[in-house]
């Protein structure tokens, strides 16, 4: 299968401190990737590089075998959607905010058409925020805002979804729901890449895991192969017993 996104020897530093060191990886369509690693491992920077927000100082990134920097931003926005770690919330209604996800699809002075509105409605329904449509985002709880942001990214209808800690403010139910939604998207052919801190969510839902530490790839593979007691100890400095989910047989990480 052809690579959706490919990084070749990518290096990025803020000032003199290298954050990503000569990293190479390939991402395929229809897979849900998890990115894990301790604080400062370079996870967010990796996503920003894939979204072209940051430009690598060395190496190259390809989307569909075409260099990322050869795309104009608007075209790229139709291919890749990104949920950054931090968002700002101004007095927009939920519906207005989700509609912003359609920005790359109509012209500067144009208006969203029926199809756009239909997509927005659907994105709000799957993220369970339909009942909030006319509320102000600035009045919502942290978890509700997070789902609005997710709906906005879904409304972009892209083939790639980059998500930086999409479950941070969510309760358990919505954490699980979010992961199920991402899993469902990937089964429809979308490449999903999520930075997640909850290793159990990664173990439970992701098809493939990248473990980053100090800007380098420590390990990659399916969750069963990656989440060994040795690796958790090595990367997170926490010793865990080897456990498995009694129903799914997937790894469970409990300190």
């Amino acid at each position: 299968m052809v690579d959706k996104i490919r990084l070749v020897n990518v290096t990025y530093s803020y000032g003199k401190t290298p954050v990503i060191k000569s990293l190479s990886l390939q991402l395929k369509p229809s897979l849900f990737y998890g990115v894990v690693g301790p604080n400062g491992a370079g996870k967010s920077t990796l996503l920003k590089l894939m979204d072209s927000y940051l430009k690598p100082q060395e190496g190259a990134i390809f989307l569909d075998d075409r260099p990322l920097d050869s795309y104009n931003l608007r075209d790229l926005a139709r291919e890749i959607a990104m949920i950054p770690q931090h968002s700002h919330y101004f007095p927009f209604t939920v519906k207005e905010m989700v509609l912003l996800g359609r920005t790359p699809f109509y012209t500067r002075l144009g208006q969203p058409n029926e199809a756009d509105l239909e997509i927005v409605k659907e994105a709000m329904e799957v993220t369970e925020i339909g009942h909030l449509a006319n509320r102000l985002v600035s009045d919502l709880s942290g978890g509700e805002r997070q789902r609005v942001t997710l709906a906005r990214a879904f409304a972009q209808r892209t083939q790639v979804l980059l998500l930086d800690e999409p479950t941070t403010h969510l309760d358990l139910e919505h954490q699980v729901n979010t992961c199920r939604l991402l899993k469902a998207r990937s089964e429809e052919g979308v490449t999903c890449i999520a930075v997640l801190h909850d290793l159990n969510l990664v173990a439970g839902f992701c098809d493939y895991v990248f473990v980053l530490d100090q800007g380098a790839m420590v390990k990659k593979g399916v969750p069963e192969d990656v989440f060994t007691s040795e690796l958790i100890e090595e990367v997170f400095h926490v010793s865990v017993p080897k456990l498995h989910h009694p129903l799914t047989g997937r790894p469970v990480i409990v300190p």
Binding site: A77, M82, S87, T93, E96, L100, P104, L136
Partner: protein
């Protein structure tokens, strides 16, 4: 998200009504019939309809003194408000105003230099004052936007800090010059207070093109500004060239503010409070915010200036007193009431 056509019609009619009422009010009592007659007789082709039986001095008062001042209040009020929208949006800071990156202090320095060094020697007349103020404003903005870069990107916090620092330095230079030079000092004080008094058609001609072009360009960028509110990374991922957008918004906002300041001096409050109050009422969607800010800001400053020139006639109050006195309590009421906007 759209502003309906009949609403625009309503807005235009209310602006015309306020303009007529403001033109009818003044230190000198002139019958409304005469005023309407003067206005109509100056529309090409309609001159024959009116019997001009009023004294010439009154026509000069209405057409050369009041009307340009009334229209200038509209232009400056609307311009400052839209400029405020642009700065609050591009700096993602609801406390930003048109003067935040040094436009006012730059314009003050420009005007002071003109008044102290060029006009006393008879090199140029007082009519050239807007040019000096405008140049000063642009130079200050340029310096601030140079200093406001962090890691090669325009960064809101750095810009605001640079604006404060440069503003302080320029204001100090103005004070220093005022200590050293004596001629025209009274005129400098008058200019620094900010006023629409004694402004004529030529001032209107200076400010109007910038303000109108600025509003059109602001509307052109409105959609991008909406997205930009989400944050730089989110905006980038939605296809917005963030650096490009910031640069243009700062240029347009500064040009509008500079054009307004150069003809009216520094009039406070309008550019900060009007966009802010309207955001509370109508939400942050920029196309709506820009349109509403323009007409509300325009009428607000016109009403304030009309009060300023009539309430203690023949004495005129500085218009800044009225904008703060009328606008302040209303703004506090809005703040306490919470947002009224729910789609």
């Amino acid at each position: 998200m759209t502003v309906k056509l009949h609403r625009i019609g309503g807005i235009v009619i209310s602006i015309v009504a306020v303009v007529v009422v403001a033109t009818a009010l003044g230190s000198v009592q002139i019958p409304l019939g005469d005023i309407l007659g003067m206005l109509v007789s100056n529309i090409p082709g309609l001159k024959g309809l009116v019997n001009a039986d009023w004294p010439l001095a009154r026509e000069v008062i209405v057409l050369q003194v009041r009307l340009p001042r009334v229209l200038l209040a509209l232009v400056v009020g609307g311009g400052l408000s839209v400029s405020g929208v642009l700065f609050q949006g591009s700096l993602r800071n609801p406390l930003a105003d048109p003067y935040i990156i040094g436009v006012s202090s730059g314009a003050s320095l420009g005007a002071t230099v003109g008044l102290l060094f060029f006009i006393p020697g008879g090199l140029v007349g007082f009519g050239a004052l807007p040019v000096f103020a405008f140049a000063g404003a642009m130079v200050a903005t340029l310096i601030v936007s140079r200093l406001g870069k962090y890691r090669g990107r325009l960064e809101p916090t750095s810009l605001i800090l640079a604006g404060v620092a440069v503003g302080a330095v320029l204001t100090a230079v103005v004070s220093f010059l005022m200590v050293l030079r004596i001629q025209n000092l009274a005129d400098v004080y008058l200019w620094l207070m900010g006023s629409l008094s004694g402004r004529g058609w030529q001032h209107l001609a200076v400010a109007t093109p910038y303000v109108l072009a600025g509003v059109v360009l602001a509307l052109w960028l409105a959609k991008d500004l909406n997205v930009y509110l989400l944050g730089e990374e989110a905006a980038h991922s939605l296809g917005i060239d963030v650096q490009h957008l910031q640069r243009w918004v700062l240029i347009i906002g500064s040009l509008m503010a500079a054009a307004c300041v150069s003809v009216s001096g520094v009039i406070g409050f309008v550019g900060l409070m009007v966009p802010h109050a309207l955001r509370l009422l109508f939400g942050a969607e920029h196309r709506r915010l820009i349109l509403h800010s323009f007409w509300v800001g325009a009428i607000f400053l016109l009403v304030a200036d009309t009060i300023a020139r009539t309430v203690l006639s023949p004495t005129e109050l500085p218009v800044g007193i009225i904008t703060a006195l009328v606008g302040g309590p209303f703004f506090i009421y809005l703040m306490k009431r919470g947002s009224g906007y729910h789609g």
